[in-house]
Symmetry: C2
Subunit: 371 residues, 2 copies
Amino acid sequence: MIPGPVDIPPRVLRAMSKPMIGHRSKEFGKILEECREILSEILNTSNDVLIISGSGTSGMEAAIGNLIGKDDKIAVIENGKFGERFAEISEIYGNLVHIKYEWGEPIELGDVEEALRKGVKAIAMVHNETSVGLLNPAKEVGELAKEYGALFILDVVTTIGGDETKIDEWGVDIAIGGSQKCLGAPPGLSIVSVSDEAWKMMRERRPYYLDLVAYKRSAEKRETPYTPAIPLFFALREALEIIKEEGIEKRIKRHRKQAKAIREAMVELNLELFPKINEVTKYSNTVTAIKMPEGVEDGELRGRIASMGYKIAGGQEKLRGRIFRISNMGNFSSKEILGVILALEVALKELGVIENIGKGVERAHEVLNKS
Amino acid sequence: MIPGPVDIPPRVLRAMSKPMIGHRSKEFGKILEECREILSEILNTSNDVLIISGSGTSGMEAAIGNLIGKDDKIAVIENGKFGERFAEISEIYGNLVHIKYEWGEPIELGDVEEALRKGVKAIAMVHNETSVGLLNPAKEVGELAKEYGALFILDVVTTIGGDETKIDEWGVDIAIGGSQKCLGAPPGLSIVSVSDEAWKMMRERRPYYLDLVAYKRSAEKRETPYTPAIPLFFALREALEIIKEEGIEKRIKRHRKQAKAIREAMVELNLELFPKINEVTKYSNTVTAIKMPEGVEDGELRGRIASMGYKIAGGQEKLRGRIFRISNMGNFSSKEILGVILALEVALKELGVIENIGKGVERAHEVLNKS
């Protein structure tokens, strides 16, 4: 239950064992087209949806590298590792206007507005900051971006397929998704949606492998501009079928309920959630970040939990040892949610942090059973 | 028998069905390290070997984007589609010095020397021009590059694992390979080797997803900088095991003999090979390009051959309808080589180009049986 790459259902794994097909074949064209269609539904968008053979980071760079040049300003909201990645990429291509917080701090819309007043071409934000367990305010930042005439770039890598992604309603000009998180597919594909407005603002000098215009032109012929990672498309197609079977609305509800169950169990166990929230910045519904209890060593805690069959994540970089993270991205059932909480309780008891086992599981069970 | 993505052996396909693992796990680290080691052997290099989750084109852009800036000159040899791709990428990053021929024309070393005299930082060439069936002179161009103090970038996408790739002996500073050709793995991974000299000449402002320095730093920790396409690494590892079992020397001999068998069969059938060769530019040993016989329509010919179970490739872009191409990249046995020639003969007889069937197969069989 690390925040991706997530466990893959056997039928998705098996889909990759199909014999190879040519990437200019009708068969591949059909798979590509079907993936693009279902992803459009999941993203609630009529924008062009493109699929790049590369990680989520390649999608982030595609968004910035196609739009931002050395004479352009781009505002980036940073309150975790992936926001900082947007900033790093932006510094390569253009002029960065920081909207910077400590990791895990909530976003203040006033700060966003101040940055937008500086006349930026675009503003970039990570929807779900996996590194700190925060859900950043897409709708509100989208409205401000529109007001100030800036393009809105939103990383939905860890919400696509697990939480709401209302790309058109929020006014997102470029959204970036990843295959290996809530969609429940293997890593290696990045999903990029592009609005008409964004197409108009594309630079003349664009990256080559990540040239979105090339992807659009090829998509019109049901192709990709360069050889795609074909087995990953087989897998994505099957993972999307699973999502259709569950229903995207139900899937989002499940993720939200599971994250709530985990959060409330933590509170019940007197553990403290790591991120700070406010009226617009919320707790993530796909990953929960919890402060490491006083005196508990990270490897010790996660090692004990792993010995019971559950892998959870530690903190990244400056948060290493200070937090641990439980992801519910993908296709988990109540069994796994209750199981990981139980394993955590057992470990905490062994480490002398709690006295009795069961309180967290009981609370989570209540939340999961509420309709 | 199209020049990639090639058919994948079942055991390689099955390797992708393994349950997902974390990309920061020891297990992934071991697979990455083993792939890098075996690829170093195949490339005959002590340079750093890195693996990018992206197509061969991503590797081509990595080579140029990390080295060439707007004040740098780069010479590019173009005698086919992929050489032209090098040129297109170069024009985005720096100043292009053309060494340009018609598609399928051989390279003259005098032209190369003339370009090198213009003080270029690097020279880029495609080793095996799949689009026209030519093997360009790596050793000779490498020597000239060294003489004029230019870095040598060589695309070995369609020779790695199928023909000689003597990276260190030829003085190749950056070599780019692909997973989906002679290595017999699925598409989606690019292999990049980088010399000490090239590391010294890297730019300050490098692409992000394709930042080779980041890949090197991560490789030292047995990691990749961004989430890798994990199932493709499972597959590549297994495909490399197959190569080790066959033995790389034997594998190269097999490819050379198979290409020779195809070429000689074509001559026997009075068909004309498409590319022109000279003392340094040779016929490809992994794909054979043949002129379309007078009066024969491309779809008609390839459709008939496909109906007998063999897929062969047509010409690309300006060569569409003018040539057809038979690839022997990967794990083919004599059975498939003879089979595709037989299917071609049957089709040619049906189309009234030849009178009797068997001459080509017979000649190919002789070549294949010679030790």
